[in-house]
Amino acid sequence: MSSRPPVILGYEAITGLGGNLEETWNRAVEGGSGVRELTRFPLREKFPVTVAGEVHGVDLAAEEIFTAKELKNWASPVIPFGMLAVQRALAHAGLELTPELASRTATTFSSAVGGLDQFIAADRELVASSRLPRPFANPNACINMVTGKVSILTGATGPILSTVGACATGSLSLAYGAMLLDRGLADVVLCGAVDFSLVEVIVAGFATMGGCFKPKGEGDRAAGDPTRASRPFSDDRRGFVVSEGAAALILCSREFCDAHGLTPRAELAGFGMTSDAHHFVAPHGPTITAAMRQAVAAAGLQPEDIGAINAHAASTKAGDRVEVEALREVFGERTPVVTANKSQLGHAMGAASAIEAVLAIVGLERGVVLPTINHQPDPDCAVPDLATETRRLAHEHVLSNAFGFGGCNCCLVLRGVSA
């Protein structure tokens, strides 16, 4: 059992900004956008959504860990992209899972949406031609299979669990991983999340529920320029941009890290988890405030110790406003600098909070706060100090927020260790 905060040894992110973390980071620092025209499926006439954050530039077939057969069987992109992210994060951590270590390694790498694309494919084929689904159809659609395939890839035989919690899934995988370490049930945890939810029926559902960005015509900034569609905290924000992505983080106990002479890259200093018990999608101030406070308190800190905030900020009308109000409630007039990665990446669902945790850690290491692009001030949603351009800022603690559908909130406090 450990009373000291666990540490992050390595990480990786695959996003709409780049097929790996370095490319993602470099383009993010430049203020780039990963949002472009939606191409994942042919757009039928009057399809309500036309922009997305798609992952390009990764040639899975060229990756050593996959055979052609493997890629054919595991047809849902969540599975190979999840595996690839974890494999790269392990390499980044410089960690080899020997048989002895593998039995003490847990897997919490998860997905919010999972391989539903394969369920839909099977359903369509059955309807169209009465052809029975391939034997891999149900395993692809089983939400914990992403986690299972990561375990099979790495050989990790410790506890395994998918921490499915909508948009907070990635953060939850870290929080639950920390608990496994705290109870001494593992030494290392493979954390993170993946989602590739640009599937026609899902995107249509996001549109009809009024959640995601829909083009409004010529008057909109994003008309002709999809990169301007995601604009958290802006006066003309009109919903999130659905995007794809994966991010993995290798978490271990401080004792394990020290005993093996490994270099920690950050500490997971604290987390807070609450549920809204309020409405199925509308955000709720009191419980997200409580989640932030719990995370800060669990890290043994006061609000003024937080140097930067990586906001959930999905670019929805109500969500951004409630988050700003909650930040004011927790931090008052001394709200630290805030940034919203989703302005550049769109919203990668369960993977978003994992990607944002990775970017927040790199920010701690390099003394950088990434920009919130496309910002146009909104008096009703005023952030005291929003990083609208990349900012050099040495900071020790960053708060990373994630609030999901169903009223599922998870906030993390990450501490830099380089200073």
């Binding site: 039928r44 705290d182 559902g205 599922c408």
Partner: protein, 427 residues
């Protein structure tokens, strides 16, 4: 982080829906008589290609029977797991004798419900709508319906818990995972109470077809006893297992820190004394004896028990050839000569396999079995000396009166996820 605490965790209440009936009394009264809940599929018209047409459907659950559920709710939440969890959460909390308020326990109560397939029924409907009526007619409730943590979210709107919520996904072991995660979070003080459980409503054409094509589920065949009489399709540990029977199910348990239960004057039903979790890292569906053995060992260590101190085993026992064979081999390895003194049973013989729900259903039946000095039967059982030798005591065909204090409840899921939980009778 908070310093570790070691609070004891107890079970205070429960609620379930199974193929034997909605509600505990219906299920238990029929199970104790050795009745079967398996039968011909009625959830959709049986197409020509369907061989796996014996299933286990919940016969009598009607969401509109709950006061807080309106006809509009029923139409909006067309993934059946959502309202089922909301309804059972209310029932389980009432059974526990707890009421949550903002001042008392609400902020300290979490909700963890796992499901293997979640809201796929809603997806199926949306796919049809998209094809027939276009993208703008897809339900705005589609995404909320398929969000795995939504059943807990909707339940929370009724029962007013604001502690940690997510959906621990562990396929057929999901409910044991929820029990384990909830127990750990209570132990370390992250919460005082959890509603935990599992749910699945998987009887949908592509899912039934997918399992059929995996050769995982029972296929009807002329001359087979399960086809002559569909109640005999699920027969774990018999000489003729031919795959599991896909089932609907839903189960919620209320667990709490013992100190909190005592402070509220509540008497526990049982204590959660040990949990073990391992991953196979082996194959996506085939079981792996080594890691399953370690999983049971971890649960025993956690409970501080020797195998001989386990009084009965509630098996995973799905009625697949390889699964049943592996579980018996594992039990032999763990229990050694003690196995012959440890009666084992599989509730799936009566209830089929309700995937994410099954471990929750089995936990409830195992706990109530201890309280009622009864071990439920493994029905449809025929002697199987090849598999069971002389050292395995299956509680065959009839419920067995037997006082017992501890039970090991096994659950192993696709993706190689194992989770075993040990309960002790209270008092």
């Amino acid at each position: 982080m908070r310093s570790p605490q070691n609070r004891r965790v107890v079970v205070l209440g429960h609620a379930l829906s199974t193929a034997l009936g909605h509600g505990f009394e219906q299920t238990w009264s029929r199970a104790v008589r050795g009745e079967s809940g398996t039968g011909w599929l009625t959830r959709f018209e049986i197409p020509d290609w369907l061989d796996s047409r014996v299933v286990a459907e919940i016969p009598d659950y009607d969401p509109l029977g709950y006061e807080f559920i309106t006809a509009k709710d029923e139409a909006s939440w067309n993934a059946r797991y959502v309202l089922s969890v909301a309804a059972l959460s209310q029932d389980a909390l009432a059974h526990a004798g707890l009421e949550l308020t903002e001042e008392d326990l609400g902020p300290r109560t979490g909700h963890l419900v796992g499901s293997a397939l979640n809201g796929l029924d809603s997806y199926g409907i949306a796919c049809e709508t998209l094809d027939r009526r276009g993208p703008n007619r897809v339900s705005p409730y589609l995404l909320p319906n398929v969000c795995a943590n939504m059943p807990s979210g909707i339940a929370g709107m009724q029962i007013k818990n604001t502690g940690p919520v997510f959906s621990p996904g562990g396929a057929c072991a999901s409910a044991n995972h929820c029990l384990t995660v909830g127990s750990r979070l209570i132990q370390i003080g992250e919460a005082d109470v959890f509603l935990v459980g599992g749910v699945d409503f998987p009887i949908l054409p592509p899912i039934v077809a997918g399992f059929q094509n995996m050769n995982a589920t029972y296929k009807a065949r002329e001359g087979d006893r399960g086809t002559d009489d569909p109640r005999q399709a699920s027969r774990p540990f018999s000489p003729d297992p031919r795959g599991f029977v896909l089932a609907e199910g839903s189960a919620i348990l209320v667990i709490a820190a013992l100190d909190v239960a005592e402070a509220h004057g509540l008497t526990p039903l049982a204590e959660v004394i040990g949990c073990g979790m391992t991953s196979d890292a082996h194959h996506f569906t085939k079981p792996n004896p080594t890691t399953v053995i370690r999983c049971i060992g971890l649960a025993l260590d956690d409970a501080g028990l020797k195998p001989s101190e386990i009084d009965t085993v509630n098996c995973h026992g799905t009625s697949t050839k390889i699964g049943d064979r592996t579980e018996i081999a594992v039990l032999r390895e763990v229990f050694g000569p003690e196995l012959k003194n440890t009666p084992i049973t599989s509730n799936k013989s009566m209830l089929g396999h309700s995937l994410g729900a099954t471990a929750g259903v089995e936990a409830i039946l195992a706990i109530e079995g201890m309280r009622r000095d009864t071990i439920l039967p493994t029905i449809n059982h025929r002697p199987n000396p090849d598999l069971l030798g002389g050292d395995v005591d299956v509680v065959a065909n009839e419920a067995r009166p037997a006082a017992h204090q501890t039970v090991l409840s096994n659950a192993f899921g696709f993706g190689g996820t194992n989770c075993c939980v040990i309960f002790r009778k209270w008092g």
